[in-house]
């Protein structure tokens, strides 16, 4: 069981619409659910985790309804955003309890603790754990039954860079193993670094879906900026500006480069190498200067 389907799902709280007619399918691999705070990410994850009923539409795992279906948790592992755990237990006791609730035992708990590299602190009380340690024990509790789907709500919140890298590495591996890993984040670089596929949610609506670069290219009405260095910047600038795919070129003397604004992505990317070849110009650097998720995201939010 690996495919989560969200079909025309809406969820409102009183007269506030948190999720508005979203349809998406999430399959194996790592998917990032991206959106600013208050976009409806947690609402979506809660519905996928069976802790919230959709007001409209359906949320299913391989065709099986998730809401009010306790049996579904054999296939789903959940890492909630909230901090609260059974703080009076040790890490090991906590993971063993989670294993027992799945009908499993100490062996599986030990394996899960090893997966998240928490064996060294497993006999300490959870109340003494740092944020990153808590997060890893939560991960272990979610992995204890070897689920095919892993849902994580803002898993990197409050983690230091090293812990963040470790968790990313772990999630990447889970995705490579064929699990469906979905994590939410409002931090763009996290999603960019980890997710092969992203779903963007803005103000309760599904704003974009797909590979990050594909999403970027889909937005053809948006100007794309490039930083280009060549052995003859001015000649290149003259040749490019003659084509309607380019709307502006700035000669950046300090950088020793051209800053080009292209309005037609596909045409420009074909034009640039051809113009360079035709004019005998050697291209030294061609780099998208705004290919960061931040710029895509701010565009989506503004749209």
């Amino acid at each position: 069981m690996t495919t989560l389907s969200i079909d025309h799902v809406s969820r409102w709280f009183g007269n506030v619409v948190a999720v508005n007619d979203i349809t998406m399918t999430i399959g194996p691999g790592v998917t990032g659910l991206l959106g600013p705070n208050g976009a409806g990410k947690s609402t979506l994850i809660n519905m996928m985790g069976g802790f919230l009923a959709p007001s409209n539409g359906s949320v299913t795992l391989d065709g099986t309804t998730i809401w009010r279906n306790a049996g579904i948790y054999r296939h789903i592992g959940i890492v909630p955003e909230r901090e609260a755990m059974y703080d009076f237990l040790t890490g090991r006791e906590f993971v063993v309890a989670n294993a027992e609730l799945h009908g499993l035992g100490r062996k599986e708990a030990a394996r899960a603790l090893a997966t998240v590299e928490m064996e060294y602190a497993q006999d300490r009380k959870i109340s003494t754990y740092s944020k990153g340690m808590r997060q890893r024990v939560k991960m272990a509790s979610a992995l204890v039954h070897d689920p095919s789907v892993l849902l994580l709500d803002e898993p990197f919140n409050g983690m230091d860079p090293r812990q963040r890298m470790q968790l990313m590495e772990l999630l990447r591996r889970m995705g490579d193993q064929g699990r469906t890993v979905l994590f939410s984040s409002h931090i763009l670089e996290e999603v960019e670094q980890l997710a092969s596929h992203i779903e963007v949610v803005v103000a309760g609506r599904h704003a974009a879906s797909g590979d990050f670069r594909k999403i970027r290219r889909l937005m053809t009405d948006r100007p794309h900026r490039y930083l280009v260095r060549s052995d003859n910047d001015r000649a290149l600038a003259g040749a490019l500006i003659a084509d309607p795919s380019t709307s502006g070129i700035e000669v950046d003397l300090a950088e020793g480069a051209l800053r080009i604004q292209a309005v037609d992505f596909a045409r420009f990317t074909a034009l640039l190498p051809r113009v360079a070849r035709d004019h005998g110009i050697r291209l030294l650097t061609v780099s998208p200067s705004d290919e960061s998720l931040e710029s895509v995201f701010s565009y989506l939010v503004a749209a």
């Binding site: 709280f13 948190a18 705070n37 208050g38 976009a39 409806g40 990410k41 947690s42 609402t43 994850i45 809660n46 985790g49 069976g50 802790f51 919230l52 009923a53 009010r68 306790a70 049996g71 579904i72 948790y73 054999r74 296939h75 789903i76 592992g77 959940i78 909630p80 955003e81 909230r82 609260a84 755990m85 059974y86 009076f88 237990l89 906590f94 309890a97 989670n98 027992e100 609730l101 799945h102 009908g103 499993l104 394996r111 090893a114 997966t115 998240v116 590299e117 509790s141 039954h145 070897d146 689920p147 095919s148 590495e169 772990l170 591996r173 193993q177 064929g178 699990r179």
Partner: protein, 258 residues
Amino acid sequence: MSTTTPTAPPASGAATKAALFHPTVARLTHRALLGRRRAMILFALPALLVIIAVAVRTLTGADDTTAGAILGTFALGTMVPLIGVIAGTGAIGPEIDDGSVVYLLAKPVPRPTIIITKLLVAIGVTVAFSAIPILLAGFLLNGNSQQIAVGYAVAAAIASIAYSALFLLFGTITRHAVVFGLVYALVWESLFGNLVPGARTLSIQQWALALGQKAAAEGAISSDVQLPLAVGLLVALTAGATWYASRRLKALTLAGEE
């Protein structure tokens, strides 16, 4: 880090066996209940009762009327419902409040199993901290003359069951379960129960007294409710509250932080 590939989930289905009791849920509930600061009251109230019993016995000697008054008013009227509130609401309320109940609910364990297990733990704790000290205090007060100690201990044990079920239900319905529990126990049962005779018919304390009356000597304990009605209401309340609490848990919504 070790790696594993996803395998088929455990086929045994052991976790979903329709058992009504789950030892892991019981262990977590029990440790959570006795680990909180609130649990101090669980120890303080029975200790106070025993101290009062020793003091009264020492100062006034064995007296059935005094024994009945202390066990009826302080022990059954105040201590049992208070302990019931702490154990009943504490068995689930804090977990729902802080969200840690997710770790219980994101498991293939039937919701009624979770509720019934928590109810049994709450009953156990309430009986241990109320009925047993009452029995001990009764013996200290008048040496169980007229079976007063046994009568009130039976009443306390019966009341423990109903209070636990009711207050556990409150814990699944509202974040203010303790307040509601105290309002029921202290305002409805104690205040209205004393002022409005009709209110006593709908009082767990009176139902429990009806059973206590049966256990004690003739005329030692009295209740405003007839035994068959009391038993019927006790069973109906306990079963109804447990059923509804399971229903609440099945559809428990964890609203987003957003």
